[in-house]
Amino acid sequence: MLAVEHAESLAFVQEKFSVFYANHDLSVPDVHRREFGFGLHKKIDFRHKAFRTNAELNAYFRQNAPLFASYSTALYEFPDARPMEKKVFMGSDLVFDIDKPTRDFAHEHNEIFCVECFGRVKKDSMKIVDYLQDDFGFKGVAVNFSGNKGFHFHLRSQEIRGLSQDSRRQLTEYLTGPESIFIAGEEKGRDTDLRGPSEKTRGWGKKFFDYAFAFIELASVGELKEKGLRGRNAEEFFLRKKGVLELMREGKWRFAPKKFWDAIYAEFKNENGVGVDAHVTLDLARLIRIPGSLHGETGLAARVVEPGRLPEFALRDAVVFSAGEKTINVLPQIDIALDFPERLFLKKNEPCEVSLASGLFLMCKGKATLLLREKNW
């Protein structure tokens, strides 16, 4: 599918991208080892390009102003060689990509651009940073806004570049969380020796232990019943809470049926697991958006974000064109209701004035065409 079909709109978008690239330098780590792919009409119209330096790369951007620009997560001895086998693979960055919320949630979804979904994705992204830094101990996590719906996380150390596909899959599965966390020694349906995480456990087990421990410590009889303990069981459990907590510390969870704990675990996993696009992580020859470049489906910049500043990142930080004054005229192709880049309600085929940022956003999304360029031109 073409992102910007309308010829005049396309020329306008490209002209604006060109102005941006004339004033902004991109910097790609190990630029001479990467394959590049570019697109004007779709994400990748052609690939197998290579550049010796960032200066060469920037000159290319200034001359061609591509709407889409990607580089390989892989490093090659001969990045422009083809077919792929002739490139000589030298390792691949580890990349995680999240572009939709891990879980469905009730909201009024905006098909053009959903700010609420983006908010959820950002929250999930903060969890990913925690997993990468706190659990995996990865240093040098580089985060960038994808330029559209989510975030990319790049790890580029030498030891990480040697990880196999299987190892990468293990990492994505860790982010989702284990299916179950208990080991049951059941007999005739009775949980005789249910074992689970203890105070000394680490990883997901420890996170769950802390969560369950805090829940039990504070739970009322009513709350225990809500989680599935029935009648007197809940009351007995409540009365023996102190002992239960002591046993939990040792990894013994037998004082309630497994399905009670499973319910608490399912709730915990639902809150803490994160789903990334595993294809991106597993594909060792993936082309991924160049951090800092513009996204041809939004006109937004794929901004680099300090991992610690992720909570403060707002979509407006990625807007690089004027978002204030209404300077251009566009013709909506459909009825449009938007919260971002600005609040807009537009009727199909009714010309309207919008800001440059919104106009580019709508043209890039293929939802409006250019009628009249900036007033001052």
Partner: protein
């Protein structure tokens, strides 16, 4: 100590120093015996470091030249044999062998810890692991289980093996072929595993269904009363038989499924579930 250790565990990386140069007819005869003993499940009496190192290397070369599948089977059986040996070893030997696979291995909190990067190469299922600040912590039993899979992976690693062999080794490979069983499918007399539906799954299923297939087999194993080790044999056959697809279904994935099912032995088995998963008609 080093020589003794290599004689018992010739898969260790410093076994290279003991292989020596040239391949005599005696070397080839010994290697054929070494590999065929493994396939016949005959007990192998380890000799010296040089002999064992050469036997293992020549066996791998000959088997890989015939079929990667033969090499994978050999690796599975041999790793099991070495893992049994390791069970009898004291912690010092275990540590020394494990260090060869996990260079970052250290004692910690009454158990062990390794770096996440090391663990990812040879460890077991990461989501279940005790991960913190880039280190993975485990106890001795977990380390032994990791080692069995690590040894299997190292023996079956064909990256540096050539399928084209010098004439004398190629001829020996043909002699070895006579000792290799035609069918590796483990035969267990369980109610479920004998069913044609399960036998078909055991022959391998396509991408998208491989996980479900492994679950079905694992549950059948537990219901049929197979030991965890016997179940490992069944799973290994299944993993080997599954097509690679865009990315392979790995022995580690199969083992993780077995671990889970054997930790939850009361899990139910249903042919209707197999139907809904598209595993049977």
């Amino acid at each position: 100590m080093e020589q003794k250790l290599i004689a018992k565990y010739p898969f260790l990386s410093f076994s290279k120093d003991f292989v020596g140069e040239g391949v005599s007819e005696t070397d080839l005869k010994d290697a054929i015996t070494f590999a065929s003993e493994c396939f016949q499940h005959d007990e192998h009496i380890a000799r010296d470091a040089a002999r064992e190192s050469k036997n293992l290397l020549l066996s791998r070369l000959m088997l890989y030249s015939m079929s990667a599948n033969f090499l994978r089977k050999f690796a599975f059986f041999k790793a099991r044999e070495y893992a049994r040996g390791l069970e009898k070893e004291n912690e010092k030997v275990l540590f020394e062998v494990a260090k060869d696979f996990f260079p970052s291995l250290e004692n910690a909190d009454g158990g062990f810890k390794v770096s996440l990067i090391d663990y990812l190469q040879y460890g077991r299922s990461l989501p279940q692991a005790n991960v913190s600040k880039g280190m993975v912590f485990f106890i001795g039993d977990d380390l032994r289980a990791c080692l069995r899979e690590a040894i299997q992976e190292r023996i079956s690693d064909s990256e540096k093996l050539s399928a084209k062999l010098p004439e004398n080794i190629a001829a020996a490979a043909l002699r070895l072929k006579e000792f290799i069983p035609r069918d590796f499918t483990p035969q267990f007399k369980g109610k479920l595993l004998q069913r044609s539906e399960l036998q078909n799954i055991l022959k391998g299923v396509g991408e998208g269904k491989r996980y479900y297939g492994s679950m079905a087999l694992a549950i059948a194993c537990v219901k049929d009363g197979l030991t965890r080790e016997e179940a490992g044999d069944v799973m290994n056959s299944y993993v080997t038989n599954c097509p690679k697809g865009a990315h392979p279904f790995t022995p580690r994935e199969g083992e993780a499924v077995l671990d889970w099912v054997y930790a939850h032995p009361t899990i139910g088995f249903s042919f209707n579930v197999l139907k809904s998963q598209g595993l049977v008609d």
